[in-house]
Symmetry: C2
């Protein structure tokens, strides 16, 4: 399982570094804009700010999910790669905006200073906007030459909707507004489902849509993504209570400090562990229609209970 | 010309108010989130914040451009409407983020308090993200049932690229970073071309792409949009020097106060007026391949020299 994961992750990292708008040596040697950039290139310091957060070593979980879901039906993963990169860009944009002073006001992410601490708040806002846009630009550039544009449209619609105002942004907006309120079971379920699980469901379903999977398989993939995403966020909540900054690459104990609505805050740590395990079991069960082909996704779900950062 | 403009604008306003995710009575009567919203709806206060900036009376210039460009080749404008709305959403998101304290720190827009002054900075950041996302979600939902998905993809790619990191966001990033630097002719041209003209070119070209226009017509539309956009931003710069807040619906004299790179700052007011007139003439000339059908777009360009806000 780890070898397969590492192979997917290495492919994602290689494709990120080869992206026509972001590629090249890192760190950048020129930061200050001296003259207008050539047309079709990203100006500095915006480009550096986008690369800084995107290219820091990460798990690349969402792109790996997309590639693995696509691989359930197709062999050559290259047609799916632009959509996989888009998921990582969307995830990174959401982290940059979440970390802003007006939001969670974090200064550490993936073990490094957050984007606004390095580039300033104005550039960080635009770097987030830019990565969100680049996600769409990257997918649409691929869709222009897609053999089946209707499949590309379906995959992009799935991704944009789950990252959007009834998905990830919806969850994030309540997460931010509800700091300091009393524990509320339906609300924490809503926030986790949208803030986190939607961006795990989108890659699985989009990968299957790109591969032309049947409705039965699409439903199975959706159920897997939703259960995995919920397990993942509950474990994340538990790690914020129990982890340390060294291992996590970000400050811990912050949820309680901010009065965030978390699973342990509502149900306690022990019941949260039980719930996470139940979600993983659900995720694994959902994969039944795929048979042995889904072994990697099965193990990935099981490992999420003991993951590090 | 004004009657045609008003007809387009009224159609855009009606479609905005009928949008499945944003429709309903305005202003909203409920603001505070009491319980999770129904699935598929935008939670409060995010929804109110998005509606606040989007539904304030505006010129709707970018959607009108898209509908008018589409009308050069097709009669029924309804297939183009989702893309027209997307342009207004993208324009509004860029204004919300531009007005943030970390950016231009404006407290007045379209004659009303800016989004973050009403809803707070955290909600305003997410309302901007949300409108950007909703633009894509709205186009992609339409593309799902498009008769010609390849045309939909081409139009979306045009819009996303010109709104993106080599387009509007690129221009905006230099506009923000270059406050207080010496006047620089190539840089101000770059900023105006991207910060403003790209989001006038995108609707014209996207409207034509949706209508299946020929390469010759696409080139003509692109030249029109670029020249119109540059004229528009030069006039905007001049109005910031000469206008008053009452007429403009925003504070004036701010560019000089911030040391912004503007056309008058580089060339002086008189030469700027000459340049704006030259751009309008170029825009009008570019429309030649369309013949009489382009009368509306011709008059729209001429009027831009004497526009109010």
């Amino acid at each position: 399982m780890q070898a397969t994961y590492d192979r997917y992750r290495a492919a994602v990292d290689e494709a990120l570094r080869a992206h026509p708008l972001l590629g090249g040596a890192w760190p950048d040697t020129t930061i200050a804009p001296q003259s207008p950039p050539p047309e079709g290139q990203i100006p500095q310091p915006l480009r550096s700010a986008m690369r800084y957060s995107l290219l820091l070593p990460g798990k690349r979980l969402r792109p790996v999910l997309l590639l693995a879901a696509y691989a359930l039906c197709c062999d050559d993963m290259s047609p799916a790669m632009p959509y996989a990169l888009a998921l990582e860009m969307i995830h990174t944009y959401s982290l940059i905006h979440d970390d802003l002073p007006a939001m969670d006001d974090d200064d550490l992410r993936r073990g490094k200073p957050t984007n606004h601490r390095v580039y300033g708040e104005n550039v960080a806002i635009l770097a987030g906007d830019g990565l969100y846009s680049l996600a769409l630009e990257t997918m649409l550039a691929a869709a222009l030459t897609a053999k089946q544009p209707a499949r590309a449209v379906a995959a992009m619609e799935e991704i944009a909707r789950r990252a959007g105002v009834t998905g990830m942004i919806a969850g994030q907006s309540l997460d931010v507004k509800l700091e300091g309120v009393a524990p509320d079971a339906p609300m924490v379920a809503y926030i986790h489902r949208h803030k986190t699980a939607d961006l795990m469901t989108a890659p699985v379903v989009a990968g299957l849509l790109l591969a032309g999977a049947s409705d039965v398989l699409l439903s199975a993939g959706k159920a897997y993504g939703q259960a995995l995403g919920l397990a993942f966020q509950i474990v994340d909540d538990l790690m914020d209570v129990q982890g340390d900054a060294q291992t996590m690459g970000k400050h811990t104990g912050m949820d309680a400090q901010r009065g965030k609505l978390t699973w342990p805050a509502v149900y306690g740590a022990e019941a949260s562990r039980v719930m996470a395990a139940r979600c993983v079991a659900e995720a694994v069960d959902a994969l039944a229609p795929f048979g042995e082909k889904a072994d990697f996704l099965t193990e990935l779900a099981r490992d999420s209970l003991t993951r590090v950062s």
